[in-house]
Assembly symmetry: C2
Homo-oligomer: 264 residues x 2
């Protein structure tokens, strides 16, 4: 059965309604193009685009922006050779690229969050979903044990941890991507009686410093920072599975990147 | 000689003129109070405030905010026990607290940048100061060697690195604190012909992903992420030295925090 880019976009967005001020858009390509193969990634890196093309995909669906900013503001990049070579690869290949960020987060529950919970093996430990977090209740482990567990489950080269590493934890707040900022994370400690928060990325002077002060006041709290990609890539793997079920006649390739950072 | 809080504030700001929309302010305390001792820190953590009081200081000068946000927006914190206990410590001790963030960055050259360059031992390698960066030209080292060198010099438990770890580097862009975002960092690679950038903190989907794409296009670039505190605390140590020279009759204590994160 022939499927067009437009049909895939409609299937992705039919259940979520219209989102105003969204970053989601068909960035390149013709909506009427027939989809020979789909590639799904967290970050549309230069390597991911090449791998998608090599795999025979002519449609890439990706979570983050192409040009190193959330809004893909490219004005300052126009003369940059890295930008130019990436544009050239996209244009010469004719690959269609759709950014599916806000829409997938808008699913009930958030597709990115579901993917992370699955990757962590915590599907049976979900207490509740909040708009930008999930509350997980697990059998007691120390914060450091949880950090090691998450690192292993996510195949991360490292995770960062602050606070009381030996704090006994059962109630955990989980926040994907860049939701680690203080306004989203800090109130959860009190409201949800959390022992620990696990998030993707956030400003270092916000939630981590709150946790540090809490510990020095004798409160046993901890924070585990996974990395942005580590926290969101599993949700795009989950999207690839979902799309495979939606379009069984179209090859769907999930393209994983290597870890962004190493520690020295 | 008796020195008041107000006299210290005047000495700190006399050379920089008025800054509009600044976060710098006397957050607590009486400007007319006599200064028995000054404490200087990067982050005014609960522990730092207690150590300042223990050291006999009644005036703390600090770079970052007290309450886990750049603008010290405390409305959501009012009922938070960590916030309340920190407020109580400050009020009961009567310690004066001045945030000196924008002002110290406004010095020519930026006091925080000077502190970092000194800590890295690169005073003789400064090529030029830009408004939000310094260009450093060093004898050739690989990116990984530079990362190890910086980690050792800054007594950091780890630094993060991405890009081409074996890239030969001589021209380095150095950006303190949260200046690692793409708009400040990415253009420097081209404009300043940089091999590597070293910054404190920045969004993971911006500069790191630019460097990753550059490397996959065959460009030998690297990025070293020190951590926000690791990049800015030396600048507050430098401020403590500077204040000691300005006010030789007042005890000045630099209070260092322990590293915020560990890796697992």
């Amino acid at each position: 059965m022939v499927v067009t880019v437009q049909e895939v976009l409609e299937r992705l967005t039919v259940s979520i309604g219209k989102i105003s001020n969204t970053v989601d858009a068909l960035k390149y390509g013709d909506p009427n193009m027939k989809v020979k193969g789909m590639a799904i990634s967290f970050m549309p890196t230069y390597r991911v685009i090449r791998q998608a093309i090599s795999a025979g995909a002519n449609f890439l669906i990706t979570h983050e922006g192409l040009f190193y900013s959330h809004t893909d503001h490219t004005e300052m990049m126009k003369k940059d050779p890295v930008y130019q070579e990436k544009i050239r690869l996209i244009r010469e290949s004719g690959i269609a690229i759709y950014r599916f960020h806000d829409g997938w987060h808008r699913y009930q529950p958030d597709g990115i969050m579901v993917g992370l919970i699955r990757a962590l093996g915590w599907e049976t430990h979900i207490s509740k979903y909040l708009p930008t977090a999930a509350i997980i209740v697990i059998p007691r482990m120390t914060a450091k044990e949880i950090a090691k567990y998450a690192k292993e489950k996510l195949h991360a080269p490292f995770v960062r941890i602050t606070g009381d590493l030996s704090a006994p934890c059962t109630r955990i707040g989980l926040l994907v991507g860049h939701r680690g900022g203080g306004s989203l994370s800090i109130p959860l400690f009190e409201q949800e009686h959390l022992d620990a928060i696990i998030y993707g990325e956030g400003p270092e002077w916000e939630t981590p410093e709150y946790v540090r002060d809490a510990v020095h006041q004798g409160r046993r709290k901890a924070l585990i920072v996974l990395g942005h990609a580590e926290s969101e890539e599993p949700g795009m793997r989950y999207l690839a599975e979902w799309l495979g079920l939606q379009f069984p006649d179209v090859p769907v390739h999930f393209i994983q990147e290597t870890p962004l950072f190493q520690v020295v």
